[in-house]
């Protein structure tokens, strides 16, 4: 799959950072605003897919390997389960929110009606893990399909 015209590449390059920052914002504020790891990860993955389509899978294959994507997805999954298992260790039950109410990062409890990013306990950590997993997973699916198409075009 070759890249598209210079117009498409330029527009994709301009809009890419905004899409990625918006997706990361949705992930980071998952415990405060609508959205979360799944939704923000899908936004970031769609931005990456935009770049992939605009620049072509040959160019993308020189920048990133599919092995890295599967590694990132595994890191996300293992992080998610690790936080859940730490709930057994410190809170007594699986998925226990052991951070909230302590002095650790994200340990605060919000005042009524006020939003504070330093709250939520394990929720932001799980949002980050799931976001990483969704970014790598969804982009990995698109990337591998694009690579398969380009290989098929070469052999045809």
């Amino acid at each position: 799959m070759n890249g598209m015209t210079k117009i498409v590449k330029t527009i994709a390059g301009i809009s890419f950072p905004f899409i990625v920052i918006y997706g990361l914002y949705v992930i980071a504020h998952g415990h405060l605003t609508p959205g979360g790891g799944f939704q923000g990860g899908a936004v970031v993955a769609s931005g990456l897919a935009l770049i992939l389509v605009a620049y072509g899978s040959k160019w993308a294959a020189t920048k990133i390997k599919e092995h890295d994507l599967s590694l990132l997805e595994s890191v996300g999954a293992i992080g998610f389960i690790t936080v859940a298992f730490f709930g057994i260790l410190f809170g007594g039950v699986f998925f226990s929110n052991f951070i909230v109410g302590t002095d650790l990062l994200f340990g605060g409890i919000p005042l009524a009606g006020a939003a504070d990013i330093n709250t939520g306990g394990t929720l932001p950590l799980m949002n980050f893990a799931v976001g990483l997993k969704v970014i790598a997973g969804l982009f990995g699916i698109v990337f591998i399909m694009a690579l398969a198409i380009s290989k098929k075009e070469e052999s045809a």
Binding site: G30, H31, L32, G36, I81, I109, L123, M126, V130
Partner: protein, 91 residues
């Protein structure tokens, strides 16, 4: 000319439609759930127990974390399946 197969399809669809209509009439009215004790508990306690302003996220990642774990597993399985199929096609 209608065949036996067409009559069977119409009868099947009619039965399904009747059951769906009855279940639609029996559904509780919009905005008034049948069992609201758990909803009220989550609304009252989500900020103190999870420290999150977003009640939906506190349900998805805390109260019903197992659901999210299953969802993540579904995504993992989907990616593994796609990679398995397209790796053979790539070579």
């Amino acid at each position: 000319m209608l065949t036996k197969r067409d009559y069977a399809a119409v009868a099947f669809l009619t039965i399904i439609t009747v059951f769906l209509m009855f279940s639609m009439l029996l559904i509780h009215p919009f905005g008034s759930p049948n069992a609201s004790a758990m909803d009220q508990y989550i609304i009252d306690n989500t900020v103190e127990e999870t420290g999150a302003n977003n009640g939906v996220t506190s349900v998805v990642f805390d109260y019903r974390g197992f659901d999210t774990l299953g969802e993540a597993t579904v995504l993992f399985t989907a990616v593994a399946g796609v990679i398995m199929i397209f790796r053979r096609l790539k070579k």
